[in-house]
């Protein structure tokens, strides 16, 4: 069950021709797929494209009606390999995943796919994770397009342009027998805008028809000698066919401007930012009426030589806006211009930064340099961001004491079942007096790298937590290494790349598998070991069984991570045992976000219908708390925070539990396991009490009143009642 439901939004997917849809980017892409007559769709979730997978899941009914096959692939490699269905059959297929990590995983399949080429349109939709808010290493997808020769579309951040790119992408793929990558930039995925819909189309051929009429063409299979021919074919046939389609269909755009002797070449994805930059300098308006001629590359690979030459002819200089490095396009255009003996000067990374996201202020500065050199009279206004930072009118003038604004990196949610795992690990380390090398993985548990846990040294990729510790397998060492892996990463590849590898190579590592029942970091998608039943997929396959299946002998499954004491003891056991081979600890508790989403409505319903419900939350006695915050240092829960000390004598803030507490019990368990302090308590409020509750309640209340009266009487001698 994914984090966000699109059940309401997917109804829009049924809208027919002519209706105007106001939607998010991901929904527009889905609609465009249906309008293109796609036969099958797959993919693997990951920001910023997770929600595309969730939309498709929620749209199952509509997909079924149109005979479109959909699956949640096991990995990006699986998704890419799925496109093999378009090799022999005239079926349009699309897969989606996160770039560039997804491309890394998928590149074997994509290289093979691109070698043989495709008959039906094959579209790889990339959720580009580059720039502010990205969670991965910063690299370009462009390299993958070049190395395997797949075309790369980079549409403007505009819903209509994105929808158009999907439909043209399929046609381009078919026209050139080449898979096409559609790059949707980080902010475009959640871009909200509108477009005019068309009718959905049934696929030209359904997967059922393909299965029932098997075909194969030896020349399309990647096997010598065909594979040698493929390389030549790419250059002699597919490339020219692509260029022809792109030019004929005007996929790239040209805009005239009064300053004919200069020009700007821009990646489609940067077009809006460029226009804003020109607006700020007084060189364009909100409708793109630019004073500087512009060539917008909505297709960034291949670069069309003739278009570049035509655009540059008669210009003394052009500026290229190309985000990221290396500067592949700049090198390419330089080579084109040189071969054409053009004397147009090409500027790019000399005026703009080589690395990093091209946000508006970056582009404005680059434009100002370029125009300042060639046509300074065009600049009719100077935005404040061009002022030096020491000018008080600059937006970057220091306006706040830097110490007052601290970094706020993402962390584990309130009630997260992973928090106690790391608390327990820390406590176990403290008890045996040994720290460990911790090899981390991708997933929510990666947040343990930050305060307050500070656990984790490297992260090598999804599912590679165990493999990342494989070299550190010293037989003579006095301790083992620790590896962490999530259930998402485990099923993605960790079972083989990590667990199997550790068994095979007799690695003594302690491997913690965080089993929260979903791929929680990507938005709570189901995995094989998801604890709840699913009507559309086969779930409830325990991780322990899989691990034992590949030969692990030492496996301990802890079914409730909130029992920190117990978990700590399991860690101590794993750290100190002499058993050879990997020690696998499967730490299970359901992702609290998902659980709450399911339980909350049920609880509200139960209360409404008069059923007995116990509402739990934790609290801290401000009087007993001495304000040392030890509890926070082993937890970091967002609901466990601090407040002014209500005691007029004490000065330091006390710990407090705020209303967002979901009553998971970690703070209490921590207080117990770490012998922290006696300030923690749990309150159980009984809603709709039954008779037994009421009788017990009144007996207790009478007893307490009686016993406490002597306490209060004594205190009254010294205190004045508040």
């Amino acid at each position: 069950m994914a984090e966000r439901s699109f059940a309401k939004e997917v109804k829009l997917l049924r809208q027919g021709a002519g209706s105007e849809l106001h939607v998010e980017g991901i929904l527009a892409v889905t609609k465009a797929l249906l309008q293109s007559g796609v036969s099958y769709v797959g993919g693997y979730q990951g920001a910023p494209i997770s929600h595309l997978m969730d939309v498709l899941s929620d749209a199952k009914e509509i997909l079924d009606e149109l005979d479109v096959y959909f699956e949640n692939s096991a990995s990006e490699a699986t998704a890419a390999a799925m496109l093999a269905a378009s090799v022999h059959y005239p079926m349009r297929g699309a897969v989606a995943f996160k770039s560039t990590v997804g491309l890394n995983v998928a590149s074997d399949a994509l290289a093979n796919l691109a070698s043989g080429g495709v008959k039906g349109g094959a579209l790889v939709i990339l959720g580009e994770d580059y720039g502010e808010g990205s969670s991965i290493m910063q690299e370009r997808s462009h390299a993958f397009a070049m190395k395997s020769q797949m075309w790369l579309l980079d549409p403007r951040p505009n819903i209509t342009a994105i929808v158009d790119a999907v439909q043209k992408g399929f046609e381009l793929s078919e026209a050139s027998n080449t898979p096409v990558m559609l790059d949707i930039r980080l902010r475009s995925n959640h871009l909200h805008g509108s477009f005019i819909a068309e009718d959905n189309k049934r696929p030209q051929m359904t997967v059922t028809e393909a299965v029932e009429n098997p075909k194969r063409d030896l020349s399309r299979i990647v096997l010598p000698p065909a594979s040698f021919l493929h390389e030549h074919e790419k250059i002699s046939q597919r490339w020219p066919a692509a260029v022809e389609y792109i030019r004929k269909n005007k996929m790239n755009e040209f805009f005239d401007g009064e300053a004919e002797d200069i020009g700007i070449i821009v990646q489609g994805g940067l077009y809006n930012t460029l226009n804003r930059g020109l607006e700020l300098l007084g060189c364009s308006d909100a409708f793109g009426n630019t004073k500087v001629p512009m060539y917008v590359m909505n297709v960034t690979y291949p670069v069309i030589d003739q278009e570049v030459i035509d655009f540059c002819s008669g210009k003394k200089a052009v500026l290229l806006l190309e985000e990221g490095q290396p500067d592949y396009i700049e090198q390419n255009i330089n080579s084109i211009l040189r071969k054409a003996a053009s004397d147009t000067a090409l500027h790019g990374k000399d005026f703009l930064p080589m690395a990093g996201e091209y946000q508006t202020h970056v582009i404005v500065k680059g434009l100002a340099t370029f125009l300042g050199q060639y046509r300074p009279e065009l600049i009719s206004s100077t935005p404040s961001l061009l002022l030096p930072a020491d000018n008080p009118s600059s937006p970057f003038a220091p306006r706040v004491d830097a110490k007052q604004v601290q970094a706020r990196p993402p962390g584990l949610c309130t009630g997260c079942p992973e928090r106690p795992i790391f608390s327990a690990m820390k406590l176990a380390e403290r008890e045996i007096g040994q720290e460990h090398h911790v090899s981390a993985d991708i997933g929510c548990h990666l947040f343990a790298i930050n305060e307050p846990f500070n656990l984790g040294a490297t992260t090598m990729g999804y599912g590679l937590g165990s493999a990342g510790a494989s070299a550190l397998n010293a037989q003579g060492a006095d301790r083992s290494t620790v590896a962490v892996m999530g259930d998402g990463g485990f099923w993605h590849n960790g079972l083989t790349s990590g667990v199997g590898n550790a068994v095979f190579n007799k690695n003594d590592q302690v491997l913690v598998i965080v089993d929260n029942a979903y791929a929680a970091a990507t938005g709570g998608q189901d995995v094989l070991s998801t604890s709840t039943k699913s009507s559309t997929r086969s779930t409830q396959h325990p991780i322990e069984k899989a691990v034992r299946g590949v030969g692990v002998k030492w496996v301990k499954t802890v079914t409730n991570t909130y029992e920190i004491g117990k978990l700590r003891d399991v860690f101590i056991n794993a750290f100190t045992t002499d058993a050879p081979g990997p020690k696998v600890i499967i730490a299970q508790s359901e992702c609290m976000l998902n659980k709450e989403r399911r339980d909350k409505p049920a609880r509200a319903q139960a209360i409404k219908s008069g059923k007995r419900v116990v509402r739990q939350r934790f609290g801290v006695d401000a009087e007993t708390c001495t304000g040392d915050h030890a509890c926070i240092r082993v937890s970091g829960c967002p609901s466990l925070t601090i407040k002014d000390n209500p005691d007029p004598m004490r000065t330091d803030p006390v710990a407090t539990v705020i209303d967002s507490c979901v009553g998971c019990g970690v703070c209490g368990a921590n207080a117990h396991a770490a012998s922290l302090c006696p300030s923690f308590y749990r309150t159980d409020v009984v809603i709709n009490p039954n008779l037994a509750d009421r009788i017990l309640g009144s007996v207790r209340s009478a007893w307490i009143t009686m016993l406490s009266s002597t306490v209060e009487r004594r205190a009254m001698k010294y205190e004045v009642a508040a």
């Binding site: 969670s135 909200h192 404040s384 306006r399 601290q406 368990a669 006696p678 406490s708 004045v720």
Partner: protein, 551 residues
């Protein structure tokens, strides 16, 4: 003039929030509102890891349809940006005060253009929460920066307003956005947007309304202030121990008022602040400097409830030792006596098992717990304590000889350790649980014969002697020595680390005495001791100090 400068440009709105706070809902409302009110709307956000409580930015542009594309335009629909541009943001909405600071830091909020709508509530960062002392950033400075860094600052606790209405902050902030008047759209359109969005409409509208009013009031106040700038008032004679909070916080306001009342009564009529058995002792309070009297009264009550009126006499005797030093000074702050009165009482009323048990069974405590859990009148509520008495803590409460035997016995340690390793959960609201804690609390008369009592009194005397000795030479350093007791906090391991740090601090005092800036150095050492639990920061600071002394 460029089209941008002439106003043919979108209204730009940046929302700085933390993942999961409803920034998405807020930007969706803005888009829907814009589309129904004559604007072309676009919003973007950065999903990904930002959703898990991390800081994140949502960005909305609303382009007025009253400026359509001209004939033969390159595009027919306006080209909107996906990034907020520093210096070009019309409205910044910050769901929390430090996020408002971030908006300033990133250049989104600027004095020439931006209406900054900032919720003054704080969601503390992990770094702020982790420190052993008070790691919170300065709210006053953030607010002052926000005021200086915006054209109009609309600051109110929109989180609390939303809570009052049983809704979430996105609704009250949407109200504030409407109330700010930046978007020339009637209030009804805003409310209609909420109505059409579906869930929790009534509560959202209530929160919207509160936010709307608060914003209008805040805006009016800011305008008035701009017209008649107030001179900053100097610090009054009342020294408050609670942290300065924005004045909107009713809890902080009440605490401030109570502190003021207590301070005044402690001077005019201290007897009214204590129970009948302490009244006579209040006559001794008048010999203290006025600034310290409120604290002395608190200390008297604290020590009496902790042990006995005779114990209070001991407390007064100890505190009185400092009076002379302040009498000789010409400022009326009486810092040394005030801090001595504070820390002597806190140390004397140390948190042992008996004291904790007493705190747990007090009537006002149980009432507070019910209130916090939002339990209705008569609603059944159970309170369970998470306790884990350690062998040392048990030994500490026993009579000296018995306690010493217990803490030295390996056998007993094993037995007690087994029982207490995983702690115990006591239901205070049950007959058995309450009785147990009540019996523990009633062990108070045994306390003066306990192992810990003897140890603490010796330590207190030694500390006070040091402070008095230092005070003869260096008043400021003596204040530091008194305040060093602040590092004695926590339970179990935390407390023993605190004890270690305290020992190190006391040990360094003689070498500082007579040196220039001794107090400043010593106070910074106290800060270091509060930085981490294992004393690494303090050790490093001491090492640096030793080096500087050699050279």
């Amino acid at each position: 003039m460029s089209s941008w400068e002439s106003g043919r440009r979108p209204i730009t709105i940046a929302i700085l929030a933390m993942g999961g706070e409803g920034g998405g809902v807020l930007s969706n409302w803005m888009v829907a509102l814009g589309e129904s009110s004559g604007y072309t709307a676009q919003s973007t956000s950065v999903a990904g890891v930002a959703q898990r409580t991390g800081a994140t930015v949502y960005y909305v542009e609303l382009y007025p349809d009253s400026y359509p594309a001209g004939k033969g335009s390159a595009r027919q629909e306006p080209i909107l940006s996906v990034f907020p541009t520093p210096g070009q943001v019309d409205v910044v909405i910050a769901s929390e005060l430090m996020e408002a600071g971030r908006a300033l830091q990133r250049g989104f909020s600027t004095p020439d253009r931006t209406t900054l709508i900032a919720s003054t509530n704080r969601v503390y960062s992990v770094t702020e929460k982790m420190e052993l002392g008070d790691g919170r950033v300065d709210v006053e400075s953030l607010l002052a920066s926000a005021k200086a860094g915006s054209k109009l600052l609309i600051a109110a606790d929109f989180g609390r307003l939303a809570q009052t209405a049983g809704s979430v902050i996105s609704a009250s902030l949407f109200g504030a956005f409407a109330g700010s008047g930046v978007l020339p759209v009637p209030r009804e359109n805003f409310e209609e947007t909420i109505r059409e969005s579906g869930k929790g409409i009534e509560r959202s509208l209530a929160a919207f309304s509160l936010g709307f009013t608060a914003a209008q009031e805040a805006a009016a106040l800011a305008e008035a202030e701009k017209a008649h700038p107030k001179r900053p008032s100097g610090p009054g004679p009342v020294r408050l121990t609670i942290g300065m909070r924005p004045p909107q916080d009713p809890e902080a306001e009440a605490a401030e008022a109570e502190a003021k009342r207590h301070h005044e009564l402690a001077i005019s009529n201290p007897r009214s602040l204590v129970g009948p058995h302490l009244e006579r002792r209040m006559d001794r309070v008048s010999q203290f400097p006025e600034a310290a009297r409120s604290m002395v009264v608190h200390g008297c009550v604290r020590t009496a409830v902790f042990q006995s009126p005779e114990y209070t006499d001991l407390y007064l005797e100890r505190a009185e030792r400092f009076i002379g030093f302040d009498r000789a000074r010409d400022d009326d702050q009486a810092e040394l006596t005030l801090e001595a009165a504070r820390h002597i009482a806190l140390w004397m009323a140390y948190q042992d098992t008996i004291q904790v048990a007493l705190q747990k069974v007090r009537a006002h405590r149980l009432e507070g717990v019910r209130k916090e859990a939002k339990a209705g009148e008569g609603q059944l509520t159970q309170v369970r304590e998470y306790l884990h008495p350690q062998i040392d803590e048990i030994a500490d409460t026993l009579p000296t000889s018995l306690g010493r035997w217990l803490s030295n016995s390996a056998f007993m340690e094993k037995i007690v350790g087994k029982v207490t390793r995983s702690g115990m959960i006591v239901n205070t609201t049950s007959v058995f649980g309450f009785s147990t804690l009540r019996i523990l609390a009633s062990m108070r008369p045994m306390r003066p014969r306990s192992l810990r009592y003897g140890r603490e009194q010796l330590a207190i005397e030694a500390w006070l002697d040091t402070a008095i000795d230092v005070a003869q030479v260096d008043y400021e350093l003596a204040c530091g020595v008194v305040k060093a007791a602040r590092v004695l906090k926590g339970y179990g391991q935390t407390l023993s680390h605190g004890n270690e740090s305290f020992g190190k601090l006391m040990a360094v005092v003689p070498s500082l005495l007579g040196r220039e800036e001794a107090a400043k150095t010593f106070n910074s050492l106290i800060q270091e001791a509060l930085k981490d639990e294992d004393g690494v920061a303090l050790d490093q600071a001491l090492e640096r100090l030793a080096l500087s002394q050699v050279s």
